[in-house]
């Protein structure tokens, strides 16, 4: 994942001697594509997030309307399933990349950088996997006594 940020041990030590000497130069376009991705995903997220917020918070009764039934109603439609999944993936990857930048900016020691990035990767992968599973394996009638319209049909 973070091919461009891996430093060899020797580069890291020489960096200690002179904090301004750049590490071994990187080749490849990773930073370029991640920059492009931030813009592209940002635009898509704009639509997805605002659509999501509008539907969830502004239509009907606002945030108070949100409960199991609301979610169940929404995810019974593949449209909202795909919508939310896209939002989840793009949001997480966009956020992942953003936080990666932030970590790169503010950590000075290789050790801390490594720990934080590992945490970040784990959290991102976990969230994406969990979220996707939830969206697609969601069973609105998990409760056998459910009275929701999708279940009683």
């Amino acid at each position: 994942m973070t091919a461009t940020t891996d430093q060899t041990a020797t580069a890291a030590t020489s960096a200690k001697l002179s904090p301004y000497k750049r590490f071994t130069p990187t080749r490849g376009n990773f930073e370029l594509w991640s920059w492009v991705f931030m813009r592209a995903s940002g635009i898509l997220l704009l639509v997805l997030v605002f659509g999501h917020l509008f539907v969830n918070l502004m239509l009907g009764e606002g945030i108070h309307a949100i409960d199991f039934a609301f979610v169940a109603g929404k995810w019974s439609s593949p449209f909202w399933q795909v919508w939310d999944m896209l939002m989840l993936w793009l949001g997480m990857l966009h956020g992942f990349n953003g936080v990666r930048t932030i970590i790169n900016d503010y950590t000075e020691r290789e050790g801390t950088r490594w720990v934080l990035k590992t945490l970040l990767v784990v959290a991102t992968v976990f969230t994406i996997v969990l979220g996707t599973l939830v969206i697609f394996t969601f069973d609105p009638c998990i409760d056998p006594n459910s009275t929701l319209s999708v279940c009683t049909k």
Partner: protein
Amino acid sequence: MTATATQPSSDEQKAGAVPTFTVTLKVQRYNPEVDEAPHFETYEVTAHATDRVLDALHQIKWEQDGSLTFRRSCAHGVCGSDAMRINGKNRLACKTLIKDVNPDKPITVEPIKGLPLEKDLVVDMEPFFDAYREIQPFLITNGHEPTRERIQSQADRDRFDDTTKCILCAACTTSCPVFWNDGQYFGPAAIVNAHRFIFDSRDDGGSQRLEILNDKEGVWRCRTTFNCTDACPRGIQVTKAIQEVKRALLTSRF
């Protein structure tokens, strides 16, 4: 010989008379030979309406504390020696009029940020020049030399005019929040000077320079905070130049 001095007259306060006032300067001091850490010291100087911060610093150095150390040379904004942080912003001391930085309150003067501090307002410039040298700031040409000058259209010449103005004062690079963090980022000044060659129609080294700036410490680290553009004493549109380099990398057109 000295008629001017012996003729005090009543209409002295005529055209061009410059009033004086007292201003307080809070200057960051650090002497590596004795101090553990930098600290501030306060000085009062008498200034004219036309004095620049550099004049005030000179007055302190020459009349109050000779050990105050800073760099300067041309005193009119063309050599790039005296970039420093005045009231929290990077400027050239020789181009900043005291009356323009609110002399009613103490004026804070600090060294530029992000480069190793050497003494008082002097920082180690080597890392800055290293980054500059890394981007191959010289004309690279293929093929053989023409006997006369190369031909370049006026439009091609104008394409990179803005970035030829750079005096390497480091005001931009040391105003950049990304540079402050770890000093790894090439910094706006290096990119400005790469821009000057990338967009020069006579140059053939554009793609190798772009390759260098495609590094993870290169242009992509810029977060468009515009501090560099605001700080540049030559009025160079620094961020614009950086964006042009980014776009050149995306499209391979330059």
